[in-house]
C-alpha cells in the first residue's frame, strides 16, 4: 500500500481536487464500493506516458523526458516532481490520522451492541409466555357468558315489538284524541306510520279490528277535513293545509283541485265584492289609495293561491290548465273592476297619483307573471295600463279644450265689462294684454299637461319601458292625439266661431274674432313649432312613426286666422252696412228737405270706422298702402271728385252731351279692376279696413239703387258721400276704391232721381266742413 501511494505521489500531478478524488476512490476500492472506481478505470487513458493513468510506464516516461527535454527543463521537472512527492506524503499522513479515531470508536460501539441484544432476547421470551396465559383466560370467560347474551338480545327484540304493538293498540284512541284537539296533521302522520303494518297483518282478527277502527276514525277525520274545507271560512293557509292532508289521505286530486279552486274563487270573489263595494261609495272622490290597497290585497291573495296550488298539485299534469282558466277568469273580473275604477278617475288634478297606482298595479301583476309564466294576465294588465294612459290623454285633451273655451269666455267677459262701464272707449286698450295673457295661459296649461303626461314615461315606472310607452304613446298618444289635436281644436273652434256667428247674426263680439285671428296667426308663426319642439324633446320617439308635420298645422292655423279675420271684416262691415241700409231704407227720399247737415248716421259710420281702425291697429301692423297721390289731402281731393261727379251728373241730365257720361262711366269701369266685396283680406290693418269700407259702401250702393230720390234726396246723398270721402280715404289701401264706390253711389242715386238737380260743390264742402 505504501509503495502504491509512493508511486502515486511520485507521479502525482499538481491538481489538488483530482488527487483527492483519487484518494477517495482508493478507499472505496478497499471497502468494495467499486462502482465509481470502475467508471474511473474505463474513462482513463491507456497512454503509458500519463503519470496519473493506470498503465503508466516510468521507463518510457523517463526515456521520453530525456530525449525531448533540455537539461534546464529536466532540472525543473525534477524539482517539481520532488515537490509533488512531498505534498503527497504529508496528505497521506493527515488522512491516516483523521480516520484512525473513527475506526476505534466504531469498534467500541459494535462491541456494546452485542451485549445489549443478549439481554433483550430474554425479556421477549418472558412476554410471550404471559400473553399465552391471558388468551387462555379470556376464552374461558366468553365461554361462560355466551348463554346470557343471547337471552338479552331476544328480550330487547320482544320489547320493541311490544312497543309497536302498543302504539297500534293505542292508535284509535290517539287518533280520537287528535280529532278532538283538531290536530289533524299529527293524526294523519300517525295513521300513515301505522297503515302499512296494519295492511300487512290484516289477516289477524285483532289487527283487523284496529285497522277497522282506524279507518273509521280516519274517515271521520277526512269527513271533518272536508267539512272544514267546504266551509271555507278559514284562511288560505289553513285551506292549503287541509288540502295537503287530504291529499295524503289519498283523496282524488282532481276533485280536490276543483274544490280548492272553487273555495279560492269564493274567497277571492268576496274580495272582489269588497272592492266593488268600495268603489261604489266613492264614485268621484279621490279615494284612490284605499281602492288601490284593496286591489293589492286581491292580487296578493291571488298570488298566494297560485303558489299554494302549484305546491300542492305540482305532480298533477292536467291541473295546470285548470289553474290558468281559473286565474284568467278571476283576473278578467278583477280587470273589469279596475277598469271601472280607472274610468271613474275623471279628475285630472293629480296625475302622479294615478300613475303611481297604475305602476303598483302593474308591478303586482308582474309577480303573477313570474308565478305563472304562460298566463295572459300580465299582458291584459299592460293593456289596461295602456288603455288607462290613452284615456288619460283623452281626458287631458278635453280638459285642455274646456280650459281653452273657459279662457275664451273670460276674454269675452273682459271684453264686455269695460264696455259697459266706460262706454266703449277704453275697451280696445286692453286687447294686446288680453291676447298675451290668453296665449300665455294656454301655453302654461299645455306645459303643465305635458309634464303630467310625462309621468307615464318616467324611468322609475315599471311600464314605461314597454314598447308602447316608448314609441306609440309618445308619437301617437301624446304628440298626435294630445298636442296636435288640441291645436286642431283651437283652429276648428275658431272656424266654428265664423260659421255659427254668420248665420245667427253675430253672437261673437267682433273684438274676440280679431283677437282669435291674431292668436291663430301667432300660432302659425311661432307657437305651434315651439309647442311641437317642446313635445318632441320631452317625448323622444324612437320609432319615428309618421306624425303630422308642423307645416300642416301651421297651414291650418293660418287658414283659421284668415277665416277669422275675414269674418271680422264681414261682421264689422255688416254692422256699418246695417246702419247705412236702415238709414237709406227708412227715409222718404222723394219728399225730403234741402240738406243742411251731414246726416248723423254718416258721422256715426266715420266714428265707428275710426274706432275699428284703432282696435285693429292694436293687434295688426299698418300694412302697405298704395302711394297716395300728392293731392290726397282733403281739399284737392274734393276738387278732383267734384269735377268728375259734376261732369257725370251734368251729362246725365243734359241730353246735349249724352256720350260723355256713357263714355266716362264705361271707360272708368273698363279700367278699374273688378271689386270683390267679400274677399280675403291680408293680415294688416289697411287691408282689414279696406275690406270693411268696401262692404259698407257696396251696401250703400245697392240700397240706393232700390230707392227713388227727389231733388233734395240726391243732394243729401251728395253731401253724405262727400263727407265719407273726406274721412274714409285715409283708412284704405287704395283711395281710388273709395272714390269709385262713392261715385257709383252718387251716380246711381242721380239715375234714381226724379228731379236731378245736383248741389253746388262749394255748398257741399261748406256743409261738410261745418259738420
Amino acid at each position: 500500500m505504501d509503495g502504491e501511494a509512493d508511486e502515486t505521489v511520485a507521479v502525482g500531478d499538481d491538481c489538488v481536487p483530482g488527487r483527492r478524488r483519487r484518494v477517495h476512490g482508493m478507499l472505496k476500492l478497499y471497502y468494495g464500493l467499486n462502482e465509481e472506481g470502475k467508471a474511473a478505470e474505463e474513462s482513463e487513458s491507456l497512454d503509458p506516458c500519463d503519470i496519473n493513468g493506470p498503465h503508466f510506464d516510468p521507463e518510457l516516461y523517463l526515456n521520453k523526458l530525456r530525449r525531448e527535454c533540455s537539461l534546464a527543463e529536466l532540472m525543473d521537472q525534477e524539482t517539481c516532481m520532488v515537490k509533488q512527492i512531498r505534498s503527497l506524503d504529508s496528505d497521506m499522513q493527515t488522512l491516516v490520522y483523521e480516520n484512525y479515531n473513527k475506526f476505534i470508536s466504531a469498534t467500541d460501539t459494535i462491541r456494546k451492541m452485542k451485549n445489549d441484544f443478549k439481554k433483550m432476547e430474554d425479556e421477549m421470551d418472558c412476554l410471550s409466555a404471559n400473553m399465552a396465559a391471558i388468551t387462555e383466560f379470556s376464552a374461558s370467560i366468553s365461554g361462560t357468558l355466551q348463554d346470557q347474551h343471547t337471552q338479552i338480545t331476544k328480550l330487547s327484540g320482544v320489547h320493541t315489538l311490544l312497543r309497536k304493538l302498543q302504539f297500534l293498540f293505542e292508535l284509535p284512541a290517539r287518533l280520537n284524541k287528535c280529532l278532538e284537539l283538531q290536530a289533524y296533521a299529527q293524526a294523519v302522520s300517525s295513521h300513515r306510520r301505522a297503515r302499512c303494518v296494519l295492511q300487512q297483518y290484516s289477516h289477524l282478527p285483532s289487527f283487523k279490528g284496529i285497522q277497522d277502527d282506524c279507518h273509521a276514525i280516519m274517515d271521520k277525520l277526512a269527513q271533518e277535513l272536508r267539512q272544514k274545507f267546504r266551509d271555507g271560512g278559514s284562511s288560505a293557509k289553513d285551506l292549503s293545509e287541509c288540502v295537503e292532508l287530504l291529499l295524503q289521505l289519498d283523496e282524488p286530486a282532481e276533485e280536490l283541485c276543483d274544490k280548492f279552486l272553487s273555495h279560492a274563487r269564493s274567497r277571492l270573489e268576496s274580495d272582489l265584492q269588497g272592492l266593488e263595494a268600495e268603489i261604489r261609495p266613492y264614485p268621484s272622490a279621490a279615494k284612490d289609495a284605499s281602492a288601490r290597497r284593496g286591489c293589492n290585497e286581491f292580487v296578493s291573495s291571488l298570488c298566494l293561491v297560485i303558489t299554494s296550488y302549484q305546491e300542492l298539485f305540482i305532480n298533477h299534469a292536467q291541473t295546470g290548465e285548470l289553474l290558468h282558466a281559473f286565474v284568467d277568469n278571476l283576473a278578467a273580473r278583477y280587470f273589469s273592476l279596475v277598469e271601472r275604477r280607472i274610468q271613474e278617475e275623471k279628475s285630472v288634478g293629480d296625475n302622479s297619483l294615478l300613475v303611481r297606482a297604475l305602476d303598483r298595479f302593474h308591478r303586482r301583476l308582474q309577480a303573477v307573471a313570474k308565478l305563472l309564466p304562460g298566463s295572459a294576465v300580465p299582458n291584459k294588465g299592460t293593456e289596461i295600463v295602456i288603455r288607462a294612459a290613452t284615456e288619460r290623454v283623452k281626458q287631458y285633451l278635453s280638459a285642455l279644450q274646456s280650459f281653452y273655451m273657459d279662457s275664451l269666455t273670460d276674454v269675452r267677459q273682459a271684453l264686455a265689462t269695460p264696455r259697459l262701464s266706460v262706454a266703449g272707449r277704453d275697451a280696445p286698450n286692453s286687447l294686446p294684454e288680453l291676447l298675451s295673457s290668453l296665449s300665455a295661459s294656454i301655453l302654461n296649461q299645455i306645459k303643465s299637461v305635458l309634464a303630467s303626461v310625462h309621468l307615464f314615461t318616467a324611468k322609475d315606472i315599471t311600464f314605461s319601458n314597454k314598447p308602447y310607452f316608448k314609441g306609440e304613446f309618445c308619437s301617437q298618444g301624446v304628440r298626435e292625439s294630445l298636442v296636435v289635436s288640441f291645436i286642431k281644436f283651437v283652429c276648428q273652434s275658431s272656424r266654428h266661431f265664423c260659421e255659427s256667428a254668420g248665420d245667427k247674426g253675430g253672437s261673437t263680439p267682433p273684438a274676440l274674432l280679431l283677437l282669435l285671428s291674431r292668436l291663430c296667426l301667432d300660432y302659425e308663426t311661432s307657437t305651434i313649432s315651439y309647442i311641437l319642439t317642446l313635445t318632441d324633446e320631452q317625448f323622444l320617439d324612437q320609432h319615428h312613426s309618421p306624425v303630422t308635420p308642423v307645416t300642416t298645422l301651421c297651414a291650418e292655423a293660418k287658414e283659421a286666422a284668415q277665416k277669422l279675420l275675414n269674418h271680422y271684416v264681414k261682421v264689422q262691415g255688416l254692422i256699418i252696412s246695417q246702419m247705412l241700409r236702415k238709414s237709406v231704407e227708412t227715409r222718404d227720399w222723394v219728399n225730403t228737405i234741402e240738406p243742411r247737415n251731414v246726416r248723423a248716421v254718416m258721422k256715426r259710420v266715420v266714428e265707428d270706422t275710426t274706432s275699428i281702425d284703432v282696435q285693429v291697429g292694436l293687434l295688426y301692423e299698418e300694412g302697405v298702402r298704395k302711394a297716395h297721390s300728392s293731392d290726397s289731402s282733403k281739399r284737392t281731393f274734393s276738387v278732383y271728385s267734384s269735377s268728375r261727379q259734376q261732369a257725370r251728373y251734368a251729362a246725365s241730365y243734359t241730353p246735349s252731351a249724352p256720350m260723355d257720361t256713357n263714355l266716362l262711366s264705361n271707360i272708368h269701369k273698363l279700367f278699374s279692376e273688378r271689386i270683390d266685396i267679400f274677399s280675403s283680406v291680408e293680415f294688416n290693418k289697411v287691408s282689414v279696413m279696406t275690406g270693411i269700407i268696401k262692404i259698407s259702401l257696396k251696401t250703400f250702393l245697392e240700397c240706393v239703387r232700390l230707392r227713388t230720390f227727389g231733388r233734395y234726396g240726391l243732394q243729401q246723398i251728395q253731401v253724405d258721400c262727400h263727407y265719407l270721402q273726406m274721412y274714409l280715404w285715409r283708412f284704405v289701401s287704395d283711395e281710388n276704391l273709395v272714390h269709385f264706390l262713392l261715385d257709383e253711389i252718387v251716380g246711381s242715386s242721380a239715375h234714381r232721381c226724379l228731379d236731378p238737380a245736383p248741389m253746388e260743390q262749394s255748398v257741399i264742402e261748406v256743409i261738410c266742413e261745418r259738420g
Binding site: 256713357n662 239715375h751 234714381r752
Partner: protein, 395 residues
C-alpha cells in the same frame, strides 16, 4: 266650342238710344216652348219704360229684339203667363203727387208685335207698340206690390201678388180682363214686415207658396191661406230669392245678402241640406234648371253669374239612369261614364261678362241648356251650359 261663346246684348231705349237704361226685370216667355225668348223690363224714371222681347236664334247665334212700351212706370218685376204667350204681368213703380207707389198689372202684347218687327225694324224702332192693359192687380188696402206669381203650369187664370205683408190670390176672369181677389194671407208680427220675394210651388197640385221676408222663409198652404212652415234666420241677412226644385217636391233653394245659396228640405227646416258660398256679394237670384235640377244658376251683385252642378241633392244623384236597352246598346260608353262617377257638386263655370250687378237670371223655357242674365247697366247675356257637361248629363 264656338257655340259656347256668350251672346251679349245691350239694351237701348228705342226712340233715341241715348244711354243704356237700367234694368232689373227678366223673364223667360214661359208659354213659348219653340222659340228662345226672354222678356226684359227697363227701369227709368225719365223716359217711357219698355219691355224688350229678345228672341235668340240658336242656329245663327243672332238676337232679334222687339220693343213694347210700358208707359205705366219703371218695371221692377216681370212675369209671363204659363198659358198664353201674349199675357204677362209686371210690377212697376209710378210716381204720383211726389209719392212713389208700386203697382201690379196684367198686360197683353199687341197681336201683331211679331210681324210688325219683321217687316220694318226701323219703323218699330221709332214707334214701338204699346202693351195693352188687361187689368190692374191693385187693392188699395194692400200696399206696394213686390212681385206677381203665375200659377205654374196652370191655365193662366190664377196669380198671386205679394204686396207689403199680404199675399193676394187673384182669379182672372173674362179673358183676364177682370181680377178678383179670391183669398188673402197676411204676415203678422212685430215691426214693418214686408214680403221681398216668393215662389209658387209647382208640386202638391200647386197648393203651396213660399215667401221670403227679411231673413225668414215661409211656406203657405193656398187652400187655407195659412202658414205651414217657417225657416227663421234662413240666411244671415235678407233673403233675396227662392226657387223650387222642379223635380223634388220638398226641395227649395234660397239666396240672400249673406252671399250664400242654401238648399232646403222643407220637411227638416233646422239645417239647410247644402250651402254654397261662391259669390263675393249679395246673391239676387237663384234658378233651378227646369228639367235637369242639378243645374242651378245664381246671379249676384258681384257682377258674376255662377252655374253650379248640384248633383248630390238633385233628383238624379247618380247621374242619368240608363235603361237596360241603352245599356246593351252602348255598353262601352257606359263604362266610360262609370269612370267619371261619382259626380260631385261643383261650380260648372263663372260668367264674368257683366260689369255691373246682376239682378236676374233665367233659364230659357224652350231650350233647357240655355239661359240669360241681366245686369243693372242693361246688359243681357245669353249663355249655354258647357257642352261637356251637357253630354255628361245626357249620356
Amino acid at each position: 266650342m264656338e257655340d259656347d261663346a256668350p251672346v251679349i246684348y245691350g239694351l237701348e231705349f228705342q226712340p233715341c238710344s241715348v244711354r243704356a237704361p237700367q234694368a232689373r226685370a227678366l223673364s223667360a216667355q214661359t208659354a213659348e216652348t219653340d222659340a228662345i225668348r226672354f222678356l226684359v223690363g227697363t227701369q227709368s224714371l225719365k223716359f217711357d219704360n219698355q219691355i224688350h222681347i229678345i228672341d235668340f236664334d240658336d242656329e245663327n247665334n243672332i238676337i232679334n229684339k222687339n220693343v213694347l212700351l210700358h208707359q205705366a212706370g219703371e218695371i221692377w218685376h216681370i212675369g209671363a203667363s204659363p198659358a198664353d204667350k201674349a199675357v204677362l204681368t209686371t210690377c212697376y213703380n209710378k210716381t204720383c203727387d211726389s209719392r212713389v207707389v208700386s203697382c201690379a198689372a196684367v198686360w197683353r202684347m199687341p197681336s201683331d208685335w211679331e210681324t210688325g218687327s219683321h217687316e220694318s225694324p226701323d219703323d218699330t224702332a221709332h214707334n214701338p207698340q204699346t202693351l195693352e192693359l188687361l187689368c190692374h192687380l191693385n187693392d188699395s188696402a194692400h200696399g206696394n206690390a213686390a212681385c206677381v206669381l203665375w200659377e205654374p203650369m196652370g191655365d193662366g187664370k190664377r196669380v198671386i201678388s205679394l204686396a207689403d205683408n199680404h199675399a193676394l190670390l187673384w182669379d182672372l176672369q173674362e179673358s183676364s180682363t177682370q181680377a178678383v181677389v179670391s183669398n188673402t194671407a197676411t204676415l203678422e208680427g212685430k215691426g214693418q214686415l214686408k214680403f221681398t220675394s216668393g215662389k209658387w210651388s209647382p208640386h202638391h197640385n200647386c197648393s203651396q207658396l213660399a215667401t221670403a221676408n227679411d231673413t225668414a222663409i215661409r211656406g203657405w198652404d193656398l187652400r187655407t191661406m195659412s202658414q205651414i212652415y217657417c225657416i227663421e234666420n234662413a240666411h244671415g241677412q235678407l233673403v233675396r230669392d227662392l226657387d223650387f226644385n222642379p223635380n223634388r217636391q220638398y226641395y227649395l233653394a234660397s239666396c240672400g245678402d249673406d252671399c250664400k245659396v242654401k238648399f232646403w228640405d222643407v220637411r227638416n227646416i233646422q239645417e239647410p241640406v247644402k250651402s254654397l258660398e261662391e259669390h263675393s256679394h249679395w246673391v239676387w237670384s237663384v234658378r233651378y234648371n227646369h228639367s235637369h235640377d242639378q243645374l242651378v244658376l245664381t246671379a249676384s251683385s258681384d257682377s258674376r253669374l255662377i252655374l253650379s252642378n248640384m248633383v248630390s241633392i238633385s233628383s238624379e244623384p247618380f247621374g242619368h239612369l240608363v235603361d237596360d236597352e241603352e245599356l246593351s246598346e252602348g255598353e262601352d260608353n257606359h263604362q266610360d261614364d262609370k269612370g267619371k262617377e261619382p259626380l260631385k257638386d261643383s261650380v260648372v263655370s263663372t260668367y264674368e261678362e257683366h260689369e255691373d250687378s246682376v239682378y236676374a237670371a233665367e233659364w230659357s223655357s224652350a231650350d233647357p241648356w240655355l239661359f240669360a242674365s241681366l245686369s243693372y247697366d242693361g246688359r243681357l247675356v245669353i249663355n249655354r251650359v258647357p257642352r261637356a257637361l251637357k253630354y255628361r248629363i245626357l249620356l
